[in-house]
Symmetry: C2
């Protein structure tokens, strides 16, 4: 009997050993020259819940950032977008409990004032403080938590894994786990090309909500690599495009999405520009860190029981591949089928076919959980028991070969469950 | 205190009195010259469940049709698309229980064979028989149900409300109710412009599924108006664009969607072309019938508790308005909020802002359930008790004014509930 091979999908960059790095401790504080803190400041009623995070470099350093494309964009995004554009920053202040979105001029003034408080206590230029918020929208920011919390956060600043962890916790909303990453490896950027050890670390919050609002992604990354501002932005933009922008929990884009990279240069060595030989390794590490966190967002999607990776190969263009992969990943029918442990290739085919991308249905192959289920548009016999066993794994893979060209795309998502409906359907009280 | 007016949205065409028609009995058999039947033929195991519908004109008549745009398109769609293109048909044979999709050449042969059986028993040209199917995909059609069921259906053909109702029931899958419409009114298309009474009737099935598959919409409409083929197609295409194509239950497009209009001309009068004075009235009636059925699909969406109408006005173009309305209607966060009786304008704003359409967030107004909740991008105080009372109604309206131009769009959807997850997440057994 002919053996039918699974669809070949692009290699993952989840493993940092592929570019000579290894996981390390420390979260965002893995990067030399970075301190962090997470404290309770009063945005939330529960005194045991941290709600204010501060990430500060020892001195003003290189900064890059990406922000939500949502037309409704929150006040902190407006402030941080402008300030990050100059390529340098000293600190990022983040809160959960209030998104400062749809708040008009008073909201903008409050965002600026919160940065000013940080600048005053930390002793730096206001322009070097970035702001990020997540939580309820349409409600003006209370300022007392900043007045109380910022001095406490500055006091608590430390270059430690525990401090990094506190910061990661302070931005959680409906996230069920804090999400951190850190790795280290050699980069040839010392004098005469000698190697220095570079660290990349960070945390993210994602898929959470506080009523009434929407999912928000906030991410802060730090590296001690001596990146130039342009190189930092290039590496971050590329990484975000390939990772966070490829995650969809429920197709809803937040008003507050923010991803900030601080590059302290404390690893030593010569400045790394976009054309430096060392750039590719740093960019790979930043992408790897982002992918690690992006997968953690999808896995912790509201109500999710499975991390789902959708690969589309054989497309005419990357855009086509992305459109098809996203159509599958956003399909409620596909997502509920996965929740039901149903390798429902028919729904995958339907989602692939509906999105306007051109292909011949009788040129399409589909694999579910690594098992060929459709070849040349026609179903193959399926061992249902084997499929049910494969569904026991925490990750579900779907691969589609459109049979048109050679472009590909990968999207991460999660299943759609009763808990998603419960989390988002409960009337806010 | 200043009274804030709700957003003005375009008038509905739900009411046939706006063009001089009135509801009548008969379903698809309201149209003179049309007979229908719905029988059990064996596509389903339950002998009490009708699974084969036949709609036949007394003689070959004018026909118009629209079909799924999904790249994965079922065999019956391939057959009917080609045959409907010539503008004439005698009968439509529809089944539930098997979609005849992803079935390759054997599936195409089976679709053709099923039409041939109908043609033989009915005594007409095979080319005049259209085919539509809904149900499981990737499984070859059993032909015995046709051999048994078609003679029974032809025997049962009747020009009666009961027969129309049986046909409407025979195409149901997870639909909870049969969905029919019929109306009648005077049209000036007789000799010397005298009035004749024209009927428009039809049925639709929608949002159903049989495991493993996807939602399918099948619709058959009939009128006794003496439309030309071009006029029938023009009226149907315009109506479908404004009604069925504006419904989204879960953003998933079926492989089998089919909408067929038969125009018998039995009402009498002169042929109605696209330029006839009577065309506008007939087109309005067809659109009204389609809108009636489209709303019934949304209201009977899988697991739905509410029919949701999303109006977007003040857009730069119809396309922009449609994109924003669809983004809101497809947002799982908006849909779960409605399930939770939460007038969550923040999620509506987020969905409006995420879809790439340009507008100024501080130029946007939003109404929820007819109540102004956002003006110029800023929230208004909300009477929560009043909102909860308004949520008792079976229909929920959301209106958004983008404040950019004068174009508008209306989309119908439903809420996202636990039952949707249950219906689509249960492992197929």
């Amino acid at each position: 009997m002919e053996t039918i091979s699974p669809i070949a999908v692009p290699a993952s960059v989840t493993d940092p050993s592929s570019f000579g790095f290894a996981p390390c401790e420390g979260g965002i504080c893995a990067a030399e020259g970075i301190k962090a803190a997470g404290v309770h400041s009063g945005f939330r009623a529960d005194p045991n819940r941290r709600d204010l995070a501060l990430v500060a470099a020892d001195q003003t350093c290189v900064c890059a950032a990406t922000f939500t494309q949502n037309r409704f964009c929150a006040a902190p995004v407006q402030v941080s977008r402008e300030r990050a554009a100059k390529g340098h920053a000293r600190a990022v202040i983040l809160n959960s409990g209030n998104a400062n979105a749809s708040t008009g001029d008073p909201g903008l003034k409050n965002a600026l004032a919160s940065a000013a408080i940080v600048a005053k206590v930390l002793g730096c230029d206001e322009q070097d403080v970035l702001v990020a918020s997540t939580g309820v929208i349409g409600v003006q920011m209370p300022m007392t938590p900043y007045e109380v919390g910022v001095p406490a956060a500055v006091e608590a600043l430390a270059h430690s894994a525990e401090a990094a962890h506190h910061a990661a916790r302070a931005v959680m909303t409906t996230d069920t786990v804090p999400k951190e990453v850190s790795m280290a490896g050699p980069v040839a950027c010392g004098a005469d090309g000698t190697e220095v050890t570079v660290h990349v670390g960070g945390f993210v919050k994602g898929s959470g909500m506080i009523m009434p609002n929407m999912a928000t992604m906030l991410c802060v990354l730090a590296t001690d690599a001596p990146l130039t501002p342009a190189a930092a932005q290039k590496a971050l933009s590329a990484a975000v495009y390939q990772t966070f922008n490829k995650v969809t929990v429920d197709s809803d884009t937040s008003t507050n999405d923010t991803c900030i990279l601080l590059a302290t240069g404390a690893a030593g060595g010569e400045a790394i520009g976009e054309d430096s030989p060392a750039f590719a390794t740093i960019a790979a590490a930043i992408r790897c860190a982002c992918e690690n966190l992006a997968r953690k967002i999808a896995a912790d999607g509201e109500g999710a029981t499975k991390l789902v990776t959708v690969d589309v190969v054989g497309a005419a263009s990357s855009k086509d591949a992305d459109t098809v992969a996203r159509s599958i990943a956003n399909s409620p029918l596909v997502k509920t089928a996965i929740f039901g442990h149903d390798a429902n290739w028919g729904r995958v085919a339907g989602a692939a076919g509906k999105c306007g991308v051109e292909f011949d249905q009788y040129g399409v192959d589909i694999d579910f959980l690594g098992v060929p289920v459709l070849r040349a548009g026609l179903p193959l016999p399926m061992d249902e028991d084997d499929m049910l066993r494969r569904f026991e794994e925490p990750e579900v893979t779907i691969a589609v070969d459109l049979g048109v060209g050679s472009a590909s795309a990968r999207i991460w998502t999660c299943d759609l469950t009763h808990d998603y409906v419960t989390i988002n359907g409960d009337y806010r009280t």
